[in-house]
Subunit: 231 residues, 2 copies
DNA sequence: CGCGGCTTTGATGTTCATCAAGTAAAGTGG
DNA sequence: CCACTTTACTTGATGAACATCAAAGCCGCG
């Protein structure tokens, strides 16, 4: 990780999400003094489960996973988040300590704003507060819904679901590099590593996928769609 | 359901949660004009999945379940909420329509405040906004955490968990009446009705519980605690 | 009184985790 | 840069946990 000595100012930030468009110029100048921009390499922890919540984090570029240590020390991945996703924030306003870790899956740039400064803005800017509320609400709904969705599917359905998700929501292509290992796929969709591999191979043998290491090419979209909805 | 012609005013409401203590007298007078108090009988829908979100709901007394229709038309219960729990609100600020139904498990009194009026208050009262954010954040964290907790347990662990939850969090006693059917227990902790029954009987035969219809008496707390943590 | 939903128990089968064992790939230190 | 270690990947065999199916009694309700 590396803190950037940034000469950029929040006012001119190209990564201002919809959230920050509600801030006045003065407010942007204000939080400018309370922000750090930090680069994380692939694999680095951004937050460790148990760390005190002292900042409001905002992913500018990259890809991260939100995960925690479950039963038997098995890691469980709650979600994978891109810039503009607020998934990482769900617990920011209700916990003194992070209940989950956040780890970079790719080189990622995070904007870290002092939490008290953000709270000050919330108190004085109602539109900002309301927008934030909507974002937090939306991301927790998304996480919860996908958790339920996934565990209603059988193992093949889960693999189909997650491949389509990567294809449609992250890479917008039929060909992509998996950003996570087989083990992590298992942690994300709740199955063992062995079965992740088995089913990927099965799909490959059936001509639904081409696989080479982390490279995936989806050959039969329709099939995956059907099986993802149970089949 | 029955709308109460209430002569009570928000200012003097004995059920004001921590949330509403942030409001000024004027604000309480303001929302007073936008509220209805409604009584629901056991079994009545308070909200149906798909209804437009037009109100901010607040449970004054009673017990409700939050549930949705999952795969194969099977109902899934997301959580059971008491007064002061904000579970029902998670989607209020991010969805045009309720993604879940809310049903009364007991005679329940709900205070329904026009959503636009609440949003007006959010915009003008920062402390209220911040508190609301914390509450929403806290309840979604709770729901998500318990969902993950539950599906890491085997079936016995789940039954133990839910019995302890009712005992400790709802009734504060070792003897209580289950507010839901065996089928609903299954929908809540993700197992079939048959297995719910089987395991309850097993616990009864082992002297851990006494059961008579919906009445439960926990005889061996320690055992349940141990098995709930996997055993 | 009869119908539908809830409850209960037993028998059967399938999906999935676990265990085992081996190969490949990737990181580490001399 | 090569030996070493660790971590990731892969396939097969086995068994256990759980769902499903079946059948019957029970209860509340119109």
């Amino acid at each position: 990780m590396k803190v950037i000595e940034s000469h950029s100012f929040c006012q001119y930030c190209g990564f201002k999400s919809r959230l920050f468009t509600h801030l006045t110029d003065e407010e942007l100048v204000y939080i400018n003094d309370f922000k750090d921009e930090i680069i994380y390499d692939k694999g680095e922890f951004i937050i460790r489960q148990g760390d005190p919540v002292k900042e409001f984090l905002y992913l500018k570029t990259g890809l991260v996973k939100l995960h925690f240590v479950g039963h038997n020390n098995r890691d469980r991945i709650i979600s994978i988040a891109r810039p503009l996703d607020f998934v990482s924030l769900v617990s920011t306003f209700s916990n003194a300590e992070y209940p989950q870790s956040i780890t970079a899956l790719d080189k990622s740039v995070v904007c870290s704003i002092n939490l008290e400064a953000i709270k000050t803005i919330i108190r004085q800017n109602g539109d900002f507060a309301l927008e934030l509320l909507e974002q937090v609400s939306k991301s927790s709904h998304f996480v919860l819904q996908s958790t339920y969705d996934i565990d209603e599917k059988n193992l093949r359905g889960r693999i189909a679901y997650i491949l389509l998700w990567f294809s449609k929501k992250i890479y917008h292509k039929d060909t992509f590099e998996l950003p996570i290992s087989r083990k992590e796929i298992g942690e994300l969709i709740n199955m063992t590593t062995e079965n992740v591999i088995r089913i990927l191979s099965e799909f490959r043998k059936d001509g639904i996928l081409e696989i080479s290491g982390k490279s995936i090419e989806i050959k039969d979209h329709t099939f995956l769609e059907r099986i993802s909805k149970w089949g």
